[in-house]
Symmetry: C2
């Protein structure tokens, strides 16, 4: 038995070694499912033939042949040409024409066709097979010498430009020169005689440019065209594109060889392109254009203006009817919007190409919803048809491309930075947060322009229409806050020089001063001078989107919550469909103008009494904020995180204080010398003393690595009154609104827990205050206590931590920082973007969750946490909660919900549904 | 059947509910193995009785009785007193005396006896059972009225002070008053009549102090004394001690009740204490002292000067001989140095206590080695007898306690900080690194005093005898570098105010200026004014220690390597027994004076050419360093880590530059106004420009969280010439020394790898240079390439990383930082020490490896790494590599070696052996 097996294997091997693979498929042999092998175009043509549509016959050379071509050092695979010849014979037979024959010659087109269309691939070469001899046969067949000479002229021109890589201008120059000399207005005015002369000149160009004759041998024409298609696969532009899109080089391109049909045989002929629905709005009805008596390139060339497709109804009613039926049939067959090319030859319709049609976000949503309503597709398919990025686009104000093009043409383009938060904004440039806050509050549209932002700037950001920074990456403070606020943001716009002192920035030699109008597009990262026209969609008016998201909700397993710090954000999040607040950052409330001085008093307090007084002062503010949140989220859970950032963030910057003290000392010295004004001296002296004390306090609090410093629950433990005040505010608020019939479900989140004892200590303090308040208020509220998982140690010891937490929420921003050792504030600028560019990292882990590293810790955490507490509520509240790939991973891990900024909620609803449809019902991922 | 079972269970339950536990054990019932139940003293006495030594009879009340006493709210357990009475009867029977009887009364002592002796526990009460009646019987028995009245006086005094908690001074005052009035010099001069009077006065004190009569009832005396022992278990001092030592409160204390014997029955009687060997040197021979005609407390009290034990040979030769035999028997029985108490009553020897004797580090080593040579213990036991901390003590210079006491008495004590690196140093205070380097190089002993240190100070630290800092914790830069250099260091000495500008510090009102002599003890954290006398042991002279460590080497599985940056350190490490270099930090070489300017030129280079020129300049320095290392470690592996820290560490500080630029601007402005000296103006102007450029460069490199920033392999990737230069230096050095017969085994370590692609990229570059150099030099050297595991992501993806690394080395300092989110530079000062104090963390994770968090990542890493590459070499090079508990854990994980600073190598050798003896042969820990 073993010997038999061995023998059989040996036979199979030798067979595979001797049998030539099938390099060529006739269209009648292929189909849509063979896209990898035949490319998109080849598979589409074959599928049309399979369902009985009129397609000129031909064949496809496979992508595998392309790979073999490169494997053999740019030589055609063995046996390929035999197969090409056989397929060509079959085509000849079908049509009764012969390739290269002076009688009734067969002409073919050669087109590239990779799996996905991509820039840089070889264009079409038409009319292959023509030479001086076959031209005569063709003229005899068509009885049209001008058509024949024009076809020959086109072949030489295309072959020269595309296959032989001679600059197109050389041919264009001859053409225009000829037209000028003979006084012909358009190409169509050229006579047969003209064309004969031009052909001669074209052949001369080839001779001069490539030191060779134009190949008259049809076989040589075909062979060279096929190899040119293959070669274009490794052309610079195509390779760059694939790198950027992460498309492997091993896919290869196919080559389609198809019998020619002619739309330029007279006014019973024509050619056109169409979409089966409007690709910009998604409205039903075939949308396209055509030209009579023209070849395909004429429609695109823009020399003659094509007609809207509906005109064809009058001009060629039979062909029109057949074309409409064909479009309906194709859409029904593919169950999607199709982008088609067709030619009518002497009244007969020929279909040349069909593919899924590119569409705008709006069209994608409308088409998906309509098709589901038309029962063309299921709701599940409709949900899978729209990308989360398309949903995102629909939620932000935007500039039309036309508007931007006009602005560019007018020289108003200024710079391009990172597209950090989508949406477009128009406003006057301001260069500090106070001015932004002031003018914004007064109703002026302002764009805050800063070298970079920090928490001191938040009060200004709150009142701005957009944020523009010179430095910082996609997860810089500016970007994160802007996304949280749904504000457009262009970050890291290094083309600008922001001069805060003189309140101006420079870009492309222009100086934009405070008060000058600018426009910014957060989706593209572009900045313009002046005011561009805005298009602003409203969520509640986007009925199709709302419908699609409702369908998505039926499929998704993950809850979708929102990160919101203010009642106003919570209200918006709820409108967008949020089912809870996954993160309220209490410290953002601390940065508001009237509160910051109290917070600073609390931090700088020299006695417990002073500190408590400041805390007591803060309590009503916080309580008021929380009441608003609970009211907005009536009946839904609200996770409130206790104060998290290092306290020095609430104090003036060390650098600035250092310089101010130095300056004051010198002023004082000069004043002492002059002794002109004892009052001024006394004032300066007092100011210096005050600043020196503040500087000393800031120096005491300064840390080398504040991200790894005194923050999170460490603050609560080192400064106990702080936790007590916040918890009291939360529970007083919950009790107060409960008395007015609002259902408050506070979940108190303790940040940055690394050791279970931290949680135990804080929890004990918290429970005590909660019970006390509820007793005072005589109200019971249902609450949970949990922790943020943002340190590797917390994830690893989740079994211990879960014993004292009813919920976990992954703070994946911080978890990414510590797991990967990347400072969020610096890494992107310093090396992370370079890493992504150089393919050291596949993506920026602050935007898309690093499944192998951070994700592995999350997996361990969920597994260990649920082992201790089976009903542990687990969510994510880092920036990743709004990223589709990360949402998919959260679904795979079996999380309960994702929480993201309000404007990402619709995106997350769709992404969560798509994850559930792709992976099934939210089971924990296999380890 | 089930019913039977149930019935049996029920019976057992009711039995356990009705049976009283055994609360009391007669000495003849106990033994050494019952230490938990009987306490150390009770178990020791019982064991002595068991092996036939003369012990006065008695019994022990168990630690369980103590716990029950507290469980019942400080009431004696049920049945306890019945058992005490029974045991007392047995004792009476044995001796033929009766407790409380006026004829031949039995007197007893009551002593506490927990498992471990601890401060704050109740002292001994002697002579319990005496009252006016039994005193007469005692006098009749002993025929010694003075002895009787003295015993009665002692009972009342001890009982009053210890049981009734009346200040001892009250009794002492009466005694001295009486002696003065009667003109008696010593207690022994007091007559029977005197003592009778004193007894009356003592009773009055009790009456006044406690509003009660001295209890004449012997039963009441015994009962109150027993309860007083129990109560002392929860006394303030005992509780504090247990908290500090992590001894659980549930251990409880036992109470020993023992028949009295009298060393004060004349000059054929006596009492003493002794060690079976010298506890300070470990020399053989009984070491102790005694007094004739005295009770135990007299020996301790210091009123009479005790005699060395050898004198007893003449005075009571029979008792002496018996005592010597007993000591030998006890040491042989316990197989350890014993600390004993004895009494001789009318020529008869009674043993009262034996326990393992406390000893100095030197004695511990000598005793262990001697006993093993005497075959009293095995070598394995000898290795287990000495603690790693004791070995550490033996390696550092020290001040004798007597020396320090004398300095304190002379008012020269200045301050106490953290004992950051052991050893003692004497030198003149200097306040900046340059002066330290200069004076140190000139042969002057200097102590570098700084507010804190940073890498700029290393050149000064290298030449200092000790480091003293005002700020910073046990893993601050100063501490880490000092331990690495084997330099004494007192860190975080907040009692000092260091004034760098005026080059002085203030402590306890004294000002120490540059050049003043100070002494510092890194083992205790103390700082003194002036020069204290130093005792400096040399490793090679400590023959016993060397022997012990050689024995340890036979048991250990873990290799012990050393972290060394300089050839000199490597040589020392090798002398200490290091088997390789586990970490050479190449950047330390960069900080040396002549090199730093070149390094700065490299960093600030504006063109690739400028950078390469600087790198070329650095190459010979590095090559020279590496040659020295390879020569020192001939035949052993040397792991060289490529440059790791952020580059701004090599540049001037941002703050300082900021202030300097501000100052220069003002100076320039003033100069411009005066226009006195155009040259000065030009000079200032040029300087300002230069500093502004430097400031701009520093600002560009500045990072919010440099620990998580552009460092480690990220530098090598962003600045490729850097890796190339270092690798070339390594391989040129290896080839050069190989040609001279030295066996060089370089292992190149790539730091801070988080993603396998980083390693792949760096490895490729490295291999290319290595091959190139070996080709140029025509020498092959055996080398390895590996990575430091210091990021959680690296540990989690160890399976991928191991595919491209021949070795892993855990950088547990950084791994602790990221796993726990603790900045090493700040955390200790800001919160970590408080966390440890408040028991939120059991220990400082930068000193002792956090097994649950960091250790869990290490476990995962070893498991995944070895799954990919079974022979992966795994070690540790973080500070933990020299910590005994962490070494134990590394053994349990199956690591190949630990690497620590040279001075910790002997400690690590012992700790590794102890880990292997405790846990067996280095198998991977169970998950």
């Amino acid at each position: 038995m073993p010997s038999t097996t061995r023998k059989r294997t040996a036979t199979a091997e030798s067979a595979s070694m001797t049998t030539t693979p099938q390099w060529v498929y006739r269209f009648s042999e292929g189909g849509a499912e063979m896209r990898d092998l035949l490319g998109g175009k080849g598979a589409g043509v074959a599928e049309m033939m399979r369902i009985g549509l009129p397609v000129p016959p031909g064949f496809t050379i496979t992508t595998e042949a392309c790979n073999e071509y490169f494997a053999r050092g740019q030589k055609l695979p063995k046996g390929l040409w035999e197969q090409v010849t056989a397929a060509l014979h079959a085509t000849e037979k079908e049509l009764g024409h012969r390739f290269g024959s002076p009688d009734e010659p067969l002409l073919v087109s050669v087109r590239s066709g990779a799996r996905e269309s991509m820039p840089g691939m070889m264009d079409t070469v038409l009319n292959i097979g023509l030479n001086r001899d076959t031209l005569q046969g063709f003229i005899a067949m068509t009885d049209n010498p001008r058509l024949g000479w024009d076809a020959y002229r086109r072949l030489i021109q295309m072959f020269g430009r595309i296959v032989l890589d001679i600059p197109g201008e050389n041919f264009e120059a001859v053409l225009s020169d000829w037209k000028q000399r003979r006084n012909r207005k358009a190409d169509t005015d050229l006579t047969t005689e003209d064309l004969q002369g031009i052909v001669e000149e074209f052949k001369r160009i080839i001779r001069a440019g490539r030191d060779m004759e134009f190949p008259e041998d049809p076989q040589a024409q075909l062979r060279m065209a096929v190899m040119a298609v293959f070669d274009s696969w490794l052309g610079r532009r195509a390779v760059d594109y694939r790198r950027a899109q992460k498309i492997p080089d091993t896919l290869g391109t196919a080559v389609n060889v198809q019998a020619m049909v002619f739309g330029n045989m007279g006014f019973d002929s024509g050619t056109g392109v169409a979409f089966t629905r409007d690709p910009s709005t998604g409205e039903r009805g075939v949308f396209g254009e055509y030209l009579l008596n023209a070849q395909g390139e004429d429609v695109v060339a823009g020399i003659r203006t094509p007609n809207p497709i509906v005109n064809l109804k009058k001009e060629l009613p039979e062909a029109y009817k057949q074309f409409m039926q064909t479009c309906a049939q194709l859409e029904a067959h593919y169950r999607d919007l199709q982008d088609v090319e067709f030619t009518i030859e002497r009244g007969k319709l020929w279909m040349l190409q069909t593919r899924s049609g590119k569409r705008t976000a709006q069209a994608a949503v409308k088409a998906a919803v309509d098709m589901a309503r038309e029962k063309l597709i299921t709701r599940r398919e409709a949900v899978m048809r729209v990308s989360p990025a398309q949903v995102d686009q629909l939620l932000h104000a935007r500039f039309d491309e036309a508007t931007k093009n006009a602005a560019r043409a007018a020289g108003r383009y200024l710079a391009k930075g990172l597209n950090a938060s989508p949406g477009a904004a128009v406003g006057v440039a301001v260069f500090d947060a106070d001015t932004a806050a002031e003018q914004g509050a007064a109703g002026k549209a302002v764009i805050l322009v800063r070298p970079e932002t920090n928490p001191d700037d938040v009060h200004g950001m709150l009142k701005a229409k957009g944020i523009l920074t010179q430095h910082g990456g996609a997860t810089s403070h500016a970007a994160v806050v802007a996304r949280g606020l749904g504000l457009p943001c262009v970050a890291g716009c290094e083309d600008l020089q922001v001069d805060v002192v003189n309140k101006a920035f420079t870009a492309r030699g222009k100086v934009i001063k405070e008060g000058d109008l600018i426009s910014m597009d957060g989706a593209s990262g572009e900045v313009f001078e002046g005011a561009l026209k805005l298009t602003q969609p409203a969520f509640e008016e986007q009925k199709d989107l709302i419908t699609l998201l409702e369908w998505a909700d039926d499929f998704r397993v993950l809850g979708v919550w929102a990160n919101a710090d203010y009642p106003r954000d919570a209200t918006r999040a709820r409108e967008f469909g949020a089912e809870g607040i996954g993160l309220c950052r209490t410290e953002h409330m601390f940065f508001e103008e009237e509160r910051l001085p109290i917070v600073q008093r609390m931090i700088l307090a020299k006695t417990d009494g002073e500190r408590q007084a400041a805390l007591d002062h803060l309590l009503p503010f916080q309580r008021n904020d929380f009441e608003g949140l609970f009211r907005a989220m009536d009946g839904l859970p609200v996770i409130i995180r206790l104060i998290d950032p290092p306290l020095h963030e609430f104090l003036p910057r060390h650098d600035e204080l250092l310089l101010e003290v130095a300056r004051l000392k010198i002023e004082l010295a000069l004043e002492r010398v002059s002794t002109a004004d004892p009052d001024a001296y006394r004032r300066l002296s007092a100011r210096l003393e005050e600043r020196e004390q503040l500087l000393a306090a800031v120096e005491t609090m300064r840390e080398q690595n504040p991200m790894l410093g005194l923050r999170g629950c460490r603050l609560g433990i080192m400064m106990p009154g702080l936790t007590k005040m916040q918890v009291r505010a939360i529970f007083e608020a919950a009790c107060n609104v409960s008395k007015k019939g609002v259902k408050a479900h506070p979940e108190v989140m303790i940040p940055l827990v690394g050791h279970v004892n931290e949680l135990k200590a804080q929890r004990a303090e918290l429970e005590q205050v909660a019970q006390q308040v509820m007793k005072e208020k005589k109200v019971k509220v249902h609450y949970k206590i949990g922790t943020m998982i943002e340190l590797p140690r917390a994830a690893l010891t989740a079994n211990e931590i879960a014993a004292h937490a009813e919920f976990f929420s992954f703070g994946t921003n911080d978890l990414t920082q510590t797991t990967c050792g990347f400072s969020r504030d610096d890494a992107e600028e310093k090396f992370l973007l370079r890493y992504v560019e150089d393919k050291i990292l596949p993506f920026n882990p602050f935007q898309t969750l690093d499944r192998e590293g951070v994700g592995e810790l999350m997996r361990i955490c969920v597994e260990r946490g649920r082992a201790t507490r089976a009903d542990l509520e687990v969510g994510i509240c880092g920036e990743h909660g709004g990223d589709p790939s990360s949402i998919e991973f959260c679904h795979m891990l079996g999380l309960n919900y994702v929480s993201c900024s309000p404007f990402r909620v619709p995106v997350a609803r769709l992404a969560a549904a798509q994850a559930a449809l792709a992976h099934g019902g939210g089971l924990p991922a296999a380890s």
